[in-house]
Subunit: 459 residues, 2 copies
Amino acid sequence: MSNPYSNWEDTIVALATAHGVSAIGVVRLSGNKAIEIANDLFPSKDLRKEAANTLHVGFLKDGEKVLDEVVLSLFRAPRSYTGEDVIEISCHGSPFIQEQIINACIAHGSRLAKPGEFTQRAFLKGKLDLTQAEAVADLIASNTTASQQTALKNIRGGFSDVLKNLRDQLIRFSALIELELDFSQEDVEFADRSALEALIQRISVTVTQLLESFRLGNVIRNGVNVAIVGKPNAGKSTLLNTLLNENRAIVSEIAGTTRDTIEEIINIDGILFRLIDTAGIRESEDAIEIIGVEKSMEKMKSADIVLYLFDAFSETAGELEAAVHRLQEINSSYMLVGTKSDLSDQSELSEKFSGIDTLYLSAKTHHHIDLLKERLVDKVLQGKVNTESVIVTNARHYASLQQVASSLHDIQTGMDNRIPGDLLALDIRRCLHYLGEITGEVTNEDQLDYIFSKFCIGK
Amino acid sequence: MSNPYSNWEDTIVALATAHGVSAIGVVRLSGNKAIEIANDLFPSKDLRKEAANTLHVGFLKDGEKVLDEVVLSLFRAPRSYTGEDVIEISCHGSPFIQEQIINACIAHGSRLAKPGEFTQRAFLKGKLDLTQAEAVADLIASNTTASQQTALKNIRGGFSDVLKNLRDQLIRFSALIELELDFSQEDVEFADRSALEALIQRISVTVTQLLESFRLGNVIRNGVNVAIVGKPNAGKSTLLNTLLNENRAIVSEIAGTTRDTIEEIINIDGILFRLIDTAGIRESEDAIEIIGVEKSMEKMKSADIVLYLFDAFSETAGELEAAVHRLQEINSSYMLVGTKSDLSDQSELSEKFSGIDTLYLSAKTHHHIDLLKERLVDKVLQGKVNTESVIVTNARHYASLQQVASSLHDIQTGMDNRIPGDLLALDIRRCLHYLGEITGEVTNEDQLDYIFSKFCIGK
């Protein structure tokens, strides 16, 4: 691969651990001078003679000045994260000392790494493709099991393997069709049109699946907005509290989750649900009308799921049907939940609301609370996705996949209309371009810079 | 050494790096099951068969669930930080993933480490003495070159070596004197009283030096309070700004320095100076009177150094003498600084204020600004300390050294009065006790718990 970057032969250095006073911190050096620079600062051993994947304890010194007592991890190219020689300096967790070590590394011939530059080098050295590199950033940002597992799957190449394989097949056809152009006088067809059509179909199916998975991927990355609506006394706050209390321990473990007065976050089976208590916004004056408040309306429209709560004991079938009618107009992704089911007989309820798909629960007795959680998860996964599926979580991939889908459509239309080979070849090239852009086989300097600039420094 | 701790045979685990999203984080395991636990989570290799000081890359799995792709550092007892088997797991910098890894380590047989417990184990295993262990905490907290160098010196044992050596000599005398007690009927003296007296003298000199170094040690740890006083228009703010602007880059690099409206921090030669602009508190109504404001007065009294600024051009010798008189009453650690020296001839000034030790500077032309800094540093170091000196920075050591000094005084007085051997032996034992307490040769469970409880988790 050609190198679109200046300075990529520099040796780079950065703090790889979080900033702050702690037991230890790690400063990372990568590049062809990494071992030499570390060796200059580590007088007790000749690191240049040490084997790969070894640990070395000693004092780090800049000339006569002792900087710290450290443990060095030595990795040699190509068996390292970046594919270059890498030294990781595990030092004491003083920001002051870490800065001194970084400054000493700079003084001895390295430069400060840009955000994501270590991973960028891993990409440039072919250690990772672009989706894998992006999955590294996703993994670091992961805060649920689902986001962690999706990122790990992508790091292991699940996502790119599928696309690369299809792209390779398409490249073969592209070559054959371009070959036909050289013999255009003779009206030959090297490329078997029906086989090409079958391949286009296969790619289309995969791309459609991937595009569809994005909704879920987005949910896994960003959480699911659930608007809880219903009349006053339908039991919205009670249900919210029941869900929260059961999950309190899990919630508090998730660092950085924002919790304001109207949104609460719970984690069910590794998926984040953002519960929006519309009652918390403002109660309608007209308590009978479900949807009387403009803000609640907006929240309902933009929610991924609307949970409509009603008092199963006092609500009539007519009232519920009216509510369903309104809900369908506003957001078709809703669930009906009859509360206070402990006050009625279950069969009585089924009869009263027969024909309406409703879950009955009781926050008081905890009846069907687990079933509600299960249904929420099912609604997100929609029964389509199992843990082995490849899921698109990245907006960049989604945009490229849309371009792939569009070019596939053009290829198919072109073949249906038996357009000339040179035009067909153009459409195929466009499809190859966007497929390659996802995995990084086709790269664009600005785009790469943008992707890696969103990484942490030190990664 | 006997073990005063319960559960110290447990294998312990903790996050060793700072909390937060970052490129990498390190989870540390220590104890006799550390390698076994890591091995349970690391299916790609049998870590139990791997050599010490090696690195291993692979996926960390809890059963079937992939937790992360990690690099493991393997250390074997006794060649590790704690002196036990140690595994450091370098994982992705996601707090969520780090928590999962720690939980998996706990599920497989370790427990969460208490603050400082890794270093406590290093101490219990004899890898560090107590002053060295305490220096680790100081090193982590260090934010200037001076505090870093002092901590590093103490980690290397500079401090304890001196005391241990003197204590060993005193133990020999103690043994001889206690032997005399067995032969008390015979009135023999195994212990050469003049040699003992000479040793007591040597210990006294060292202890006095160490006690004296504490003032400097404290300054190195906590910074020097400098009250800037003077009449309005003496140039206080201008000088402050000049000092700050020159140091702005350095100041901003020191993480966590508190900067409110009346205190500014500058770093000169690795020592933190906290500049207190008393003018910032409130200007006296009576502008001629230097010290009119109560708060300024308090600041002046408690300051390590008082910088009295006067306008060298307009101040008369009589006024300055009056000011010096007042200063001597309030805080004898003062420096006189004549400002605006660019307005006068230098020899003129020397003549006008002859006999008064004054530094003339000009913030405008930067004349003698560096000299002022030099004088401030000299005033702190007082010419007594060079970088090779051992410095006491720890209040616990200071308290024990005071007890040592007091017992040395009692031994000396006892010998002068030729008190009986059994009483002398008691005084010597007291001295040995406090000397041993500093380095941890004499330990007390509560005290140890207190010392280590102030460490970070993971250290």
